[in-house]
């Protein structure tokens, strides 16, 4: 700090030649002039002094019969004098300092860490709505408020913190830990049929089975009862559980319009925008037509030594499209409908074993239809809780004790 202060004021280092340089030092210090870095080498005494003081000490040097010789000049007065004729350099330095000072008040980059399930784009959008975006004026924002508002808006965030260091905003997020679904094993439940079917195999794990293999059941019919009767005639409520494999029948109708709208895309056109701290400056004169169009955005940020600068180039690729009506023939319709049926089998019937399938193709004036009939083998059991009082459950828990007595 002292060095900077001395540099700003300007100082000279000088040699003191003479018989009694000590006398000169004493006179100078008594005159209240600051002197530092005095060194004695090879019979000469070197010291440093402020420029303004050096002009005053000539008569003191005469008085003490020593000669002074300047060795080094340093400091801002000499620097300014050196570049007096190069105003542009000084102006450039001043402008550079000013730009750095102004730019340091804005957010240049935003880094988000700790995301697991929430999308980064969503968080960035919410942060932008609440006032944190590239180009935010730092002194005008309360980052605690932004953090609180973002947490209120996004329920999945458990904790978050915004730290702004220089021009870099670092957003740390911890997502909420979701509580696992706990199955209530004490709650009595019956096992019922999820759909109509013919039972092929039934494995009762808990409860009283009501049907055997070969029985036909309808939807929501009770398959396994939760009421279990013991040998002594006592009744216990249990949580029934069973695996019931049944042959089921499913029907699905797929359709496609005879007249379909398809789009023809023109040659893509690129539009460029230069982005400085959120200020977008367009660079091309390509405009979207009145027709339908799709825009694709691609942003490339400029970085220097792994530091992302607030300068980016946004490329917008514009795809103009014109709708065309196409009449679909029977062969094309069959292809489309069978593809839809395959997708249905792959995703919706993934838990079932498809034993047999039948297809029936039909058409009206406007549409083609494909009716698919599937014969499947699947587990049709589902548990349905029974609402009983806690007192009943306690009685049930206490029952074995009573029996033992």
């Amino acid at each position: 700090m002292l060095e900077i202060f001395r540099w700003l004021q300007g100082y000279v280092c000088f040699k003191i030649c003479g018989k009694f340089p000590e006398r000169f030092i004493n006179i100078v210090t008594k005159a209240g002039i600051a002197i530092w870095n005095t060194k004695r080498t090879d019979g000469e005494l070197c010291a440093c002094m402020y420029v303004r003081d050096y002009r005053k000490i000539r008569h003191l040097a005469k008085k003490s019969r020593v000669k002074l010789k300047i060795v080094k000049k340093a400091g801002s007065p000499f620097f300014v004098r050196k570049y007096k004729n190069r105003v542009g350099v000084l102006f450039g330095v001043a402008v550079f300092s000013l730009v750095i000072f102004i730019m340091s008040n804005f957010v240049w980059t935003i880094n988000i860490t700790g995301l697991q399930t929430i999308s980064e784009a969503q968080v960035r959008r919410v942060l932008c709505d609440n006032g944190l975006y590239i180009g935010t004026y730092i002194p005008s924002q309360s980052f605690k408020t932004i953090s609180r508002d973002t947490m209120l808006e996004l329920d999945d965030i458990g904790w978050m913190s915004i730290n702004v260091i220089d021009s870099h905003a670092s957003v740390e997020i911890k997502e909420k830990a979701k509580s696992p679904k706990v199955d209530n094993y004490h709650q009595p439940a019956n096992v019922k049929a999820e759909r109509d079917g013919l039972i092929l195999k039934i494995n009762v794990h808990e409860g009283e089975g009501l049907f055997n293999s070969g029985s036909a059941v309808v939807k929501d019919q009770m398959l396994v009862s939760s009421v279990v009767e013991d040998k002594l005639g006592g009744v216990t409520l249990v949580r029934a559980n069973a695996e019931v494999i049944a042959q089921t029948h499913r029907e699905m109708i797929f359709s496609v319009d005879k007249n379909e709208t398809r789009y023809v895309y023109d040659e893509p056109k690129d539009r460029y925008k230069f982005n400085i701290l959120g200020l977008k400056i367009p660079f091309s004169l390509t405009f979207a037509d009145d027709s339908e169009h799709i825009l694709c955005y691609k942003t490339e940020s400029l970085s220097l030594f792994d530091t992302v600068l607030p300068l980016s180039l946004q490329t917008q690729t514009l795809y103009n499209r014109t709708p065309l009506n196409k009449v679909i023939n029977k062969q094309e319709a069959e292809d489309i409908l069978f593809k839809k049926a395959s997708l249905y089998e792959a995703f919706d019937l993934s838990d079932c074993l498809v034993v047999d399938r039948k297809a029936q193709f039909s058409q009206t004036d406007t549409q083609y239809f494909l009716k698919m009939s599937y014969t499947c083998e699947e587990d049709i059991a589902y548990q349905q809780d029974i609402n009983v009082d806690n007192a009943d459950i306690e009685r049930r828990d206490a029952k074995p004790k009573d029996n033992s007595q």
Partner: protein
């Protein structure tokens, strides 16, 4: 009747006088090992070389002997000597 309050300058002077009376205008020498010494109450430099520095004080001349001795900072009553001090002599 309330006494007039003494101004800050005079109270400071009184304090200085009190300290001078207490220690009898004796110079104060503070050493940091044998590498640096701060002298308060100096009256000027008598001799200054790489191996010897003599300082005039109220009690006489204090002589510091050693190697690479430098006067880092000088003011009318205080100074700092820096270097490898091997010996201190009081010439009374």
């Amino acid at each position: 009747m309330r006494k007039p309050k003494a101004d800050s300058k005079s109270s400071h002077k009184n304090r200085e006088n009190f300290v001078q009376n207490l220690f009898g205008d004796i110079p104060e020498l503070s050493f940091r090992g044998n590498r640096e010494v701060i002298i308060e109450g100096s009256r000027g430099v008598v001799e200054y070389s790489e191996n010897v520095i003599r300082i005039n004080t109220s009690i006489g001349v204090v002589c510091f002997l050693g190697r690479n001795l430098n006067l880092v900072c000088i003011s009318p009553t205080e100074l700092i000597i820096n270097g490898f001090i091997t010996k201190v002599e009081f010439v009374l």
